[in-house]
Amino acid sequence: MNQDATLAPRGPQLVAPAGARLVYGSLAIAFLLGLLPWPGQWRWLVPDFSFIVLLYWNIHAPHRAGLGLACGLGLLTDAARGVLFGLHGLVYVLAAFAALTVRRRLENFLPPGQALQLAPLFVGKELAVLLLGLAAGQTVIDWWTLAAGPMAALLWLPVCLLLHRLAGRPSAPPAAMAQDK
C-alpha cells in the first residue's frame, strides 16, 4: 500500500488551462444574467454575476482574464447600468489586481474558504462603486445595494462548483486533497 503511494505521481494534479470559449462564454452568460429583468424591489440584493465570474477566472485562469478583460467588462457594465463611464471599470481593475495578487494563496483553499476571503473584496467593490459615485457628484445613494456584496460571497460557492466542473477541475484544491490524505 505504501509502495503504491510512493509509486503514484506526487504533487498537484495537472489541470488543462481553461479554454477561451469557456472563459468568455461564462463571462457573457453572467453578464446576460445581470441584464435579466430582476424584480425592482429585490434588485438591490442581486449580486454582480459578471464580477463573480471575473474574479473566478482571475484566480483560476489569469492568462485569459487579466486587467484588460476586467477593464473592458467594467466599461460594459457601466454602459449597461447607465453610470459614469469608467466607474465600474476602475473598480473591476482594482479588484482584479487584488485577486491576481492573492490568487496563488487562494487556489489552495476550498470554495468556502475562498468565499470568506473574497467577501471583503465583494463588499468593497459595492462600497467602492457607491463611494466613487458619491465622489462623482451623485447625491442620492441606495446604501442597501451593499447587501449585494455578501450575496456575491454566498454565490461564490455554486459558481465555483459549476465552473470547476465545466473546466474539468477537481472539486478540491491540491493542498486540501493532500491534507485529506
Binding site: 446576460l32 435579466l36 447607465g82 459614469l84 482594482l94
Partner: protein, 280 residues
C-alpha cells in the same frame, strides 16, 4: 530579442489612469455620448429579448391571479347576495308581524277584561292535545283559564301557568269545548276541537237545528270562562245524522289558530275595577 512584458502594477496604473480619464471626460464633457449610445443600442434590445420570456411568464401568472381574484369576488358576492336575501326575508317577516300587531292593537277588548300581549315561544309537540307556550306567566299576572285571542277571534285558553311562561290549549285541541252561539239566530251550541289546525266540529247538533254553511259562531259567555261575543268559527258544512241520532257541523276557526306568533291573553278584571285607560 527580449520582449519586456509590463509588470502587473504598471498595467494596473495604466488601466486606473484610463478609467479615471474616462470618468472625468464622461462627467465633464459630452464626448462619450456616442460610445454609450452605440453600446446601449446593442444592450437594450438584448435586455428586451431577455425580458420577454419573463414578461410572458408574468402575463401567465397575472392571468391565474386575476382568475383567482374573480373567483373570490364571485364567491364573496354570492355570499353577500344570500345575506341580503335573508335580510329581505326577515324584512317581509317583520312587515307581516307588524301588520298583525297593528291588527292586535286595534282589537277591542271586551268590557271587564284587560289585554296582555304575548308572543308564542313554542308549539308543544304533544300528540294528544294542541298546545302552545307563550312568553308571559304568573309573574306577569297570568292565571289558568284565561282566554287567549288574536285579532280575528278566539285562539284558546291558558291551561298551565309557569313563572315566565304559560301553556295555552288551542280551541282545535280535541279536549277543548267552547260554548258558542250562532250569530244569525242565537242558537247555543258547543264547538269542539278535532285535533286539526283548520277544523272544529259541532258534535251533538239537533238534526232540525237551523244552521247553514257560512254561519258565524261567537262565544256565548255561558261558561263564565270566555267573554261573550268573541268570534270563534265559520260553519263549513253541516252533516245530517248518519250513524247517530245527531247531526254535526264542521267549522273552520276564524282566528289564526296555531299560525300567529302574537297573541293576546284577556285578563278578567275583578268586579268593580276599571281597566286601565291605555292599551297594552
Amino acid at each position: 530579442m527580449f520582449v519586456r512584458v509590463m509588470g502587473l502594477p504598471l498595467r494596473l496604473s495604466l488601466y486606473v489612469l484610463l478609467c479615471l480619464v474616462l470618468m472625468t471626460v464622461d462627467a465633464r464633457y459630452d464626448l462619450l455620448h456616442q460610445v454609450r449610445a452605440g453600446l446601449t443600442a446593442v444592450l437594450h434590445p438584448l435586455q428586451n429579448q431577455l425580458a420577454r420570456p419573463f414578461r410572458y411568464l408574468q402575463e401567465a401568472f397575472d392571468f391565474f391571479r386575476i382568475h383567482g381574484e374573480l373567483l373570490r369576488d364571485v364567491h364573496r358576492l354570492q355570499a353577500e347576495r344570500r345575506e341580503l336575501l335573508l335580510l329581505l326575508q326577515d324584512r317581509e317577516l317583520l312587515q307581516a308581524e307588524n301588520l298583525h300587531l297593528r291588527a292586535l292593537l286595534d282589537l277591542d277588548t271586551p268590557p271587564g277584561y284587560r289585554a296582555i300581549a304575548v308572543e308564542l315561544i313554542q308549539v308543544l309537540p304533544n300528540p294528544f292535545a294542541r298546545k302552545v307556550v307563550v312568553n308571559r306567566g304568573s309573574r306577569q299576572g297570568v292565571a289558568p283559564g284565561w282566554p287567549v285571542v288574536d285579532a280575528l277571534g278566539l285562539v284558546g285558553q291558558v291551561t298551565r301557568v309557569y313563572p315566565n311562561s304559560s301553556e295555552v290549549s288551542l280551541i282545535t285541541s280535541p279536549e277543548q269545548d267552547v260554548p258558542v252561539q250562532v250569530l244569525r239566530n242565537g242558537l247555543r251550541l258547543l264547538v269542539s276541537g278535532e285535533g286539526q289546525d283548520r277544523l272544529l266540529e259541532v258534535r251533538f247538533l239537533d238534526m232540525h237545528a237551523d244552521m247553514q254553511t257560512g254561519d258565524i259562531l261567537v262565544t256565548s259567555g255561558l261558561d263564565g270562562r270566555y267573554p261573550a261575543g268573541i268570534p270563534v268559527a265559520r260553519v263549513l258544512a253541516t252533516e245530517p245524522p248518519r250513524h247517530s241520532p245527531f247531526a254535526r257541523a264542521l267549522c273552520a276557526p276564524l282566528a289564526g289558530v296555531g299560525k300567529q306568533r302574537q297573541l293576546v291573553i284577556l285578563q278578567r278584571m275583578p268586579e268593580g275595577v276599571q281597566p286601565p285607560a291605555g292599551r297594552p
